[in-house]
Amino acid sequence: MKKVISFKLNGEDVEAEVEPHWSLLHLLRETFELTGAKEGCGKGECGACTVIVDGKAINSCLFPVMEVEGCEVTTIEGLATLNGNLHPIQESFVANGAVQCGFCTPGMIMSAKALLDENKNPSEDDIRTAIAGNLCRCTGYVQIIEAIKKASERREP
């Protein structure tokens, strides 16, 4: 039985017809064709599907689609402006070598954004905790942590 849900997606009011058993990730990738969030495991173990729902970074592969009703959802596609201006965290990932194969990158950036939105001046441990659920096999996390740290410094007034 399909149901209709409405929510805010990357700042825009949207409506979608969904199967109640879908995950938010399925809705984003299949219905809205927003393929920035990746499915790395489908079980909430790797974080590649991380998006922000009402300010919190969540694994969209586990997030039941019916719970999105009335929420505000931000995906990686919602960060850069259409004319190519990157969000400071994205800029920092580029400038600091935080990207290799890039499969974990959108999820990693969304976790970082949720952190920096809440904590303007996170410690290294705060950063490590915020991305603890985002696995990366390429970088050893070093340059990712550095990129998030530098992005937070840049955002300081």
Partner: protein
């Protein structure tokens, strides 16, 4: 090119594909859909070893939405693998749990999955062989009764005898003052690419195949797939391999894999594009891991510490079928024969079929396994001889100009600087003299191929460069980017030679119908070969441009150069009369009578040698060296190991891009630490028991390892602007460095990986018992 003049090379230039990746715009195989595309799913075996009696697909075929159900009985036989010992779909026997017995194509993945449940397979279970030491016995049951040519097999030992002899080990033993002998074990670990495996196959009306792929070896894959087409009765038909963005490689894509052939068979049957995409569980149990091995090693030295011999005998668990990974003993020879100066070498290795998951190469291609044994043994021998382990390594250090027992010609070699700088970082002498309780230091070095590796008949790389009317340069390359950054360093090097900026370079790649041949992204060779090609071809382009400019200005082209996109006179660089923007000149050259387009190509094949029948020869035209040193603290109550310091010194020739280079070192160091301490694919009677990230533990951001990379630049004569390979090296020495540090800390030596808290506590208990 003078050091001080370098504009792009040596700079921390961001990765050229980073913007696409941080915005979620990069298209991975997961993101790609074609009109009319079907979804393929694979049915795997229920037993590790069994005879297939019957496969009934009738119910599955009737399920609405199913477009094809294939088995070994209704498709032509395609045999794959290094020894062509694996049929894609099995029909006589299954030899491992992951054996593919049937596959379905359906209009959506859920229907395909449902159809798998409707396929009924009758098996007659057979006894299984899971222990390589049992499998190697003469009276063991046979896993393969026949080889690929139908010749009966007598035992389970692969007909790939590895044997390297140099000097006289028996005589050297007599002349040694100290000899140690030990046995080490390494187990399965898996690549854990964050992007799971997948492909889309489709045929055109003429039966030519296009496959969207994530392979590291597109041109060898084309060759493999063309052979499959031939087996399907499509002789003379061609394959076009198109790569999407790849979600991690690490050696997992050096073979063509069963799922790809299944997608091809399904696409041919249905005449539709068919996509197969692995789940994470499949990625764990149906993607071949790194080879396990049992390694016996003996080494000797004189009183003065000079090594006298090294003898290694190895038994590898190949699993049920061969991949290219069956040849990893050839690269294991590199550290065994040539890490430190050892005049007498004996190395033998046997690889044996078992009913375990079949293995393939993974970052280091056997080197991490072999180096774990060699470098653990180095510490044991140093202790026996009463020599400090760092001093012991320096006594035996490799030096430029050396020819090793395997006939490697050492050109540049910064190993001594690597060892010394790591020792300095760790305050080695002080750490040894004023030893803190439960704290210890350890080090390990590495040698790896650094200038390509001739494991295939060509180690070449083709490249085409063309310049457009706007001064932009297209580089058409066979290089495969798997995250390491080859496209970025190619851009830097091309920009350097041509006097333009890296952003003026566009990389065109990932299509066997467009790009020239390259053997693949393996052996840490991509920057070495593709940047060497880029230098040659960019110089050709530059010569053409300057010849045209010379005619225009009526000056000797030798007196012209290009800087910041402007052609200028070298004698009078400030003379604006004799300057012209590059794009303007290009348009002039193009839109004139007898106009010309500027383009050039090259095929660079490094001057290295295939190993001869004795496994000797200059496998690589230069070698990469490095040393990893760690300080650990071991909690003797819990067995937990904390890495307090981590120095990774690497002879990189030249750092073409220090930021990307450090990225390779950080990533490999963390992967190596996982190999040392946490990672293990657990198999029980051939079945993978931990097919998820909760039970297979790769390190997370919470595992804090204070890695300090040290770049030693030796400016190699044959390297592009002096550079050597770095993709694999940094993960090679980690495990033995950590094992050596643990021994230094608490006096127990763990000889099998991973070094889990349980193993440490058990060893401590045994040590206590012995008193």
């Amino acid at each position: 090119m003078m050091e001080s003049q370098l504009k792009s090379v040596g700079k921390r230039v961001p990765k050229v594909d980073a913007r696409e990746k941080v915005t979620g715009r990069a298209i991975y195989i997961h993101d790609l859909k074609l009109p009319g595309m079907l979804y393929g799913k694979i049915l795997y075996s229920k037993y590790p070893h069994a005879r297939i009696l019957n496969i009934d697909t009738s119910k599955a075929e009737k399920l609405p939405g199913v477009r094809a159900v294939i088995t070994g009985f209704n498709t032509p036989e395609i045999r794959i693998g290094f020894m062509k010992d694996q049929p894609v779909l099995k029909k006589d026997k299954v030899r491992q749990y992951r054996d593919e017995v049937a596959a379905v194509a359906a209009i959506d993945p859920d229907i395909a999955e449902e159809a798998l449940d409707l396929i009924k397979v009758d098996y007659e279970p057979l006894p299984g062989l899971f222990d390589p030491e049992e499998a190697v016995k003469e009276d063991a049951i046979l896993i393969h009764e026949y080889d690929a040519k139908g010749k009966p097999l007598k035992n389970n030992i692969l007909k790939l005898p590895w044997r390297l002899i140099a000097g006289d080990v028996e005589q050297a033993k007599k002349e040694s003052d100290f000899i140690v002998e030990d046995s080490f074990r390494v187990t399965w670990v898996t690549h854990c690419c964050m992007g799971t495996s997948g492909c889309i196959a489709l045929f055109d009306l003429d039966n030519n195949l296009t496959i969207y792929s994530i392979t590291q070896i597109p041109f060898l894959a084309q060759n493999d797939f063309n052979a499959a087409l031939k087996a399907m009765g499509l002789k003379g038909k061609n394959t076009r391999v198109i790569n999407t963005v790849i979600g991690g490689g690490f050696g997992s894509k050096l073979d063509t894999h069963v799922y790809e052939y299944i997608a091809i068979l399904l696409a041919y049957r249905t005449r539709k594009p068919v996509k197969i995409l692995f789940t994470r569980e499949e990625e764990f149990f149906a993607q071949p891991p790194r080879q396990p091995a049992i390694i016996k090693i003996s080494q000797g030295c004189k009183k003065d510490g000079n090594l006298t011999f090294r003898e290694v005998d190895m038994l590898l668990d190949n699993g049920a079928y061969t991949s290219w990974g069956a040849t990893t003993p050839s690269v294991m020879m590199v550290p065994i024969s040539s890490l430190y100066k050892v005049p007498n070498i004996k190395y033998t290795a046997r690889s044996v079929y078992t009913n375990n998951i079949y293995a393939q190469a993974m970052r280091g291609y056997g080197n991490p396994q072999a180096t774990f044994a060699v470098e653990s043994s180095m510490d044991i021998l140093a202790e026996a001889a009463g020599i400090d382990p760092m001093e012991f390594r320096l006594i035996n250090v490799n030096l430029p100009g050396e020819i090793t027992p395997q006939n490697f010609k050492v050109t540049t070699c910064g190993l001594k600087e690597c060892i010394e700088s790591v020792g300095e970082g760790l305050n080695w002498k002080d750490a040894k003299k004023n030893k803190k309780k439960k704290r210890g230091v350890g080090m390990s070095s590495l040698i790896h191929v650094g200038g390509g590796a001739r494991v295939y008949k060509s180690d070449g790389h083709g490249m085409i460069m063309k310049v457009d009317d706007f001064g932009k340069i297209s580089v058409i390359t066979g290089a495969v980017e798997i995250g390491q950054g080859s496209e970025t360093v190619i851009s830097q090097v091309a920009a350097e030679v041509l006097g333009v900026f890296p952003e003026d370079i566009q990389i065109i790649k990932g299509d066997t119908s467009i790009c020239p041949w390259d053997v693949g992204t393996h052996a840490s060779r991509q920057a070495f070969v593709s940047c060497n090609a880029a230098i040659t071809v960019a110089n050709k382009i530059k010569k053409e441009i300057l010849d045209i400019a010379g005619k225009y200005f009526n000056v000797d082209p030798e007196n012209l150069d290009i800087k910041n996109r402007v052609i200028y006179l070298k004698d009078e660089p400030e003379n604006s009369e004799k300057q012209m923007p590059l794009d303007k000149l290009l348009r002039r050259a193009h839109f004139s009578k007898h106009g010309t387009m500027i383009m050039a190509e090259t095929f660079y094949d490094p001057p290295n040698e295939m190993l001869n029948q004795e496994f000797k020869g200059n496998l690589s035209c230069t070698y990469a060296y490095g040393t990893t040193g760690v300080e650990v603290e071991v909690d003797t109550e819990t067995g937990h190991v904390e890495i307090k310091k981590y120095f990774a010194a690497h002879d990189v020739g030249r750092a073409l891009n220090p930021m990307l280079l450090e990225g390779q070192i950080y990533g490999a160091a963390v992967m190596g630490t996982g190999y040392a301490l946490t990672e293990q694919l657990i198999l029980k009677q051939g079945k993978v028991m931990n097919d998820n990230f909760l039970d297979y533990k790769i390190l997370t951001a919470k595992d804090k390892i204070p890695i300090v990379p040290i770049l030693v630049e030796t400016i190699d004569e044959l390297g592009p602007l002096g550079a050597k390979g770095i993709g694999e090296p940094a993960c090679v020495p980690t495990a033995p460095a950590i094992a050596n540090a643990i021994h230094d800390a608490i006096g127990v030596r763990i000889k099998d990986l991973p070094i889990t808290p349980e193993k440490i506590l058990k060893a401590l208990k045994e040590k206590e018992k012995k008193g």
